[in-house]
Chain length 215, copies 2
C-alpha cells in the first residue's frame, strides 16, 4: 500500500508530490484533470485521474489503507471539503489539507484534519523572518544529508549528561532542543542529563542519527 | 524612511506585512484596493492606497529611499512586472517578488530581483520534509525568543575552540553550522576552532545572540 496520497495537483500538490518522491517515498497522486495527471507522470510521479468527490472513485484509485492523505485542492471549496470527509470515512489515520481562507480552515478542522496548511500565509511569515534575520533556515538542508529529526531518548542515555555522552564528537549530532513534558530546553548544555520520556530534536547527518537510534 | 515596502495585500503580502510589524520593523503597505488597505490598517499595518503601475503614485506613496520592496502581486502579471520595473528605476537596493509561474519568474529575474518567491511550491517542499522527518522546523520558533541567526565570528573568538568557549554554558547558544569559504561544518564539536572570516549559524535566545555580538 502507498504511504502518501496527494489529491490535487496545483502548484502546491505537485511540488509536494515531487518532493516526496525525491525523498524516496511511495506516492499516489490524484487529479480530475487528465492534463495535470500527465504532467505529474512526466515529472516522475505516479498519478491517476479521478474525481475526489466520489468515494467509489477514490477507493478504486487506491485511497485506502494509506497512512497519509494530503488534500491539495484550493479554489474548489466543495471538492476540498467533500474529499476530506470521504477520507475521514475511509479511516485514513492522518489527513492534511490546504485551506484557502479561515472559514474553509475551520470546516476542515471540524471534520478532523491533522493540520491545515496556508501556503501564502506561512511563506509570508517565513520571508519576514528571513528578511529580518538575514538567514534562510534552509541552510540546514545545504549539507548533503544533514537533517533535523525528532527522536525519543534512547534508553541507554537516560540519567547521563550531554557532556559525558559527547554526541557531537561521536556522532556529529547536536541536540537542539529537549522536549520534556510541556517544557522546551533550547540549546541544552553539557550538564543537562536526559530523563526517561525526553524527546530530542537533533541536527546531524541522517545516517548518524539512525546509527544512534540503533546501537 | 521606511525599511520595508510591501506592494499587494493578498494573503502572502498581508501576512508578510503583519509579521514584519510584529518583528518590530517599519513597514509601508500599498494596495490599489481601498478595502484591503483598510483591512491592513485594522491589523496594525500602516497602509496606503495606490496603483503600483504608476511611478508617480509609488513615489507619492513613499516608495523611495527604502532598502527593501516586496512585490506581492500574484495574478495580475502585468502589474507585478510593471511595479518591479518601477522599483528598479527608483533604485531600490533589494527587490523581492512573488511569482505565479516559471515564465513570470524568468521575467522578474531578468529585471533584477533579489529573490523570486513561490509560496505554493516552497510550502509543498517543506511539508514533504516535515512529513518525512516528522519534525516541524517550527519547533525552533516555539521557545519564546529562540531564533536561528547568522553572524560573522566575533574577533575575540578567532583561534579559540568551541570546547574552550563554552557558548552553550555561557549563552545557551548552539553553533549549528560553521560556513567557511565554500564548505559547511555541521554540528561542529568541541575541538573545532574558529578561523577569521567564519560565518556561524547559531540557535539560541535572540537576546543572548545579540549579547554575544556586543561584548
Ligand atoms: N473534485 C476534484 N477531484 C480531483 N481533483 C480536483 C477536484 N477539484 C479540483 N481538483 C484539482 O485540484 C488541483 C488544485 O486546485 P486549484 O488549482 O484550484 O488550487 P490552487 O489552490 O489554486 O492550487 P495551487 O495554489 O496549489 O496552485 C487542480 O489541478 C484541480 O484539477
Ligand atoms: N496595480 C496594482 N497596484 C496595487 N495593488 C495591486 C495592483 N494589482 C493588484 N494589486 C493588489 O495585489 C493584491 C494581491 O493580488 P492577488 O490577490 O491577485 O494575488 P494572489 O497571488 O492571488 O494573492 P495571495 O495568493 O497572496 O492571496 C491584491 O490585494 C490586489 O488588490
Amino acid at each position: 500500500p502507498n504511504q502518501y496520497v496527494v489529491i490535487g495537483l496545483g502548484r502546491f500538490g505537485l511540488s509536494l508530490a515531487k518532493e516526496l518522491v525525491h525523498l524516496g517515498q511511495e506516492v499516489l497522486a490524484i487529479d480530475q484533470s487528465e492534463e495535470r495527471v500527465r504532467e505529474a507522470e512526466e515529472a516522475g510521479v505516479y498519478a491517476v485521474q479521478a474525481n475526489a468527490r466520489s468515494k467509489m472513485a477514490l477507493r478504486e484509485a487506491g485511497v485506502q489503507n494509506v497512512e497519509n492523505v494530503i488534500i491539495a485542492i484550493g479554489e474548489d471549496l466543495e471538492s476540498s471539503i467533500l474529499a476530506t470527509m470521504i477520507c475521514k470515512e475511509l479511516e485514513i489515520p492522518r489527513i492534511y489539507a490546504k485551506a484557502d481562507n479561515p472559514v474553509h480552515a475551520d470546516v476542515l478542522r471540524h471534520i478532523g484534519v491533522e493540520r491545515v496548511i496556508f501556503p501564502e500565509e506561512e511563506v509570508g511569515k517565513r520571508l519576514a523572518h528571513s528578511l529580518v534575520t538575514g538567514v534562510l533556515m534552509d541552510y540546514i538542508d545545504m549539507a548533503p544529508d544533514a537533517s533535523i529529526m525528532e527522536l525519543t531518548v534512547p534508553d541507554r542515555f537516560v540519567g547521563k549528561s550531554l557532556g559525558v555522552l559527547q554526541l557531537r564528537r561521536k556522532y556529529g549530532i547536536s541536540v537542539l532542543v529537549i522536549k520534556r513534558g510541556d517544557s522546551l530546553i533550547v540549546s541544552p548544555h553539557g550538564d543537562h542529563s536526559f530523563q526517561a520520556g525526553d524527546i530530542l530534536i537533533v541536527l546531524g547527518a541522517r545516517s548518524e542519527i539512525e546509527r544512534l537510534q540503533r546501537r
